[in-house]
């Protein structure tokens, strides 16, 4: 009795809150067939916005996969003063409102700050440029990669590495042949999560991007502009496209994490 009550409540909650809206978007998006996508792509600026969003998200994921894995490794394996503080700071992007992230970058790199003024004199523009968007996306997605790799590293058995070292393998060879293969599912999952998150990021981007069509206008910002401009159909089409991408990414990530779990257990 109690079990059915719990099960029913859980199903009803998730069904109404998540499944239903998802079905609506898919039904509305794919209901009108391929033409909706053609419409979405012919909306002024849409094509450029989608390409820019995908490219920036990919670059973000790549950079953070490298530095995120390195950070996770340092946090798990090395002991140094300030390690806990570093670990807490890595979580800060989870807590800080995304819009505030954008405001922070604007404060640091905007023309009013000494840093922004200095960079400006040397011809480097961050705010209202793609570099600013990239920094915002890197900030927001950093913990995703670190926290995906860290648990895998913690569970790794160090004796295998020691064995490789004793047998004469160099540090780099040991990492490549022994550590990396075990970390790969975690790294890929973290990278995909970062990519998906970067695709949809709005708050951190809107305030630093300046939203110049074809240059700094990303797809999520375009969607809000279309809604505000009274074009919900176009907005829905672009949203469906973005949604389809994220949905596929989630499925792939789930699969990877599931196989990763099976391998370690």
């Amino acid at each position: 009795m109690a079990r059915w009550g719990l099960r029913g409540t859980a199903l009803l909650y998730l069904g109404l809150m998540i499944v239903l809206p998802t079905v609506v978007v898919v039904a509305r998006g794919f209901g009108s067939g391929v033409s909706a996508f053609r419409d979405a792509l012919t909306t002024p600026g849409a094509q450029e916005a989608i390409v820019l969003t995908v490219v920036l998200a990919a670059v973000t994921a790549l950079i953070n996969v490298v530095f995120g894995t390195e950070l996770a490794y340092v946090l798990v394996r090395y002991r140094f003063p300030g390690r806990r503080l570093l670990s807490t700071i890595v979580d800060i992007p989870f807590a800080i409102p995304t819009l505030v992230t954008g405001v922070m970058l604007r404060a640091l790199y905007g023309p009013i700050s000494p840093v922004g003024a200095f960079l400006g004199q040397h011809g480097i523009q961050v705010i209202f440029a793609q570099l600013g968007i990239l920094l915002a996306l890197l900030f927001v997605t950093l913990p995703l990669v670190v926290r995906a790799v860290q648990p895998v590293l913690l569970e790794l058995d160090e004796t295998e590495e020691e064995a490789a070292r004793v047998l004469g393998a160099s540090r780099w060879l040991t990492f490549r042949r022994v550590v990396f293969p075990k970390l790969r599912p975690g790294i890929v999952a973290g990278g995909l999560l970062a990519f998906a998150r970067a695709l949809g990021e709005f708050g951190a981007v809107v305030i630093v991007s300046g939203n110049i069509i074809g240059k700094t206008l990303t797809a999520p910002v375009l969607i809000t502009q279309l809604i505000n401009g009274g074009k919900p159909e176009d907005a829905a089409a672009v949203a469906t496209l973005l949604f389809g991408l994220s949905f596929v990414l989630v499925l792939v990530t789930e699969r990877l994490l599931a196989t990763g779990r099976k391998e370690t257990s």
Partner: protein
């Protein structure tokens, strides 16, 4: 043979120190440039105007209203998503039925979907021509451009946090303690309150902290469904967005810094509590 091995070993400890130091330095530098520098930037920008900017900003009725609205939305979201989140976590961790793995995939969905898309979903459901629009408008209930839709989209986005923190704790706990409690005559409600809830409290609290932070900071979805009407449906984040649009940057920095401080305080507070509890368990 033995000398060949010894030579790299001797210089090895020095090299290891160099490698460790180098990698640690890279890690610290990356976090410092990416995360810490912008934090310093906003603190500088918000404090630069002095006390008068703060009093002028925080005494504006629009700002006060925005804070209150954010507080209301956050409170409702936290209560609903922690109560129902614990229910879902119990089902995901304990119950076995076909479609359970699909269920946990759906739990993670809001993490990957852009908040902007969540806003569009709400417009498709409740906007003109939406599935539920006739029913609600016939009863005169305003959903879009009003509190209900703002709460709904924030709830959607915050669903995963409590569930994802509580499920692993439940899985690790197992059911033996609960079985012991019920064998000793505790009712299922007593068992839940005294045993289950007590055991999951740190995971739950962490999930609540993440939910709170996310709800306070929500912007994309809320921007689409609220219409951002000043003094009515303008949350703290929407106020910041407007402040920068209208070149009131100083006020924008002040409100942004207050939100950042609240979020960081939440995060650090939970970390400290967690550590203290871990220490207690060890001794």
């Amino acid at each position: 043979m033995s000398t060949e091995l010894r030579t790299p070993r001797l210089s090895g400890s020095a090299r290891r120190l160099l490698v460790h130091g180098g990698f640690t330095a890279i890690a610290i530098l990356y976090v410092a440039v990416l995360v810490v520098a912008p934090l310093i930037g906003i603190a500088w920008a918000a404090l630069r105007g002095g006390l008068s900017t703060w009093t002028a900003t925080l005494s504006q009725p629009d700002v006060v209203h925005a804070y209150v609205l954010t507080g209301i939305i956050t409170a409702i979201t936290v209560v609903v998503s922690s109560v129902l989140g614990v229910v879902v976590a119990l089902v995901v961790a304990r119950d076995r039925f076909p479609g359970r793995s699909l269920m946990s995939a759906f739990v993670d969905l809001p993490l990957a979907v852009s908040p902007v898309i969540v806003g569009v979903m709400a417009v498709l459901l409740f906007g003109r021509g939406g599935w539920f629009e006739p029913w609600f408008s016939a009863r005169g209930i305003q959903i879009l451009f009003a509190l209900p839709s703002m709460v709904l989209v924030t709830m959607f986005i915050c669903i995963p946090f409590v569930i994802r923190e509580v499920v692993p704790v439940l899985q690790e706990l197992g059911v033996s303690e609960e079985e012991a409690a019920s064998t000793l005559g505790a009712s299922s409600w007593q068992t839940f309150l005294r045993v289950t809830l007590k055991n999951i409290r740190w995971g739950l609290l962490y999930g609540i902290a993440l939910t709170t932070a996310r709800a306070i900071g929500e912007i994309g979805a809320v921007l689409i469904v609220s219409g951002s009407i000043t003094g009515k449906t303008e949350t703290a984040t929407l106020y910041i967005l407007r402040a920068f649009d209208q070149n009131h940057d100083a006020s924008g920095y002040v409100v942004a810094l207050t939100l950042a401080l609240v979020s960081i305080a939440l995060l650090v507070g939970i970390e400290v509590f967690k550590r203290r509890e871990e220490r207690k368990l060890r001794t």
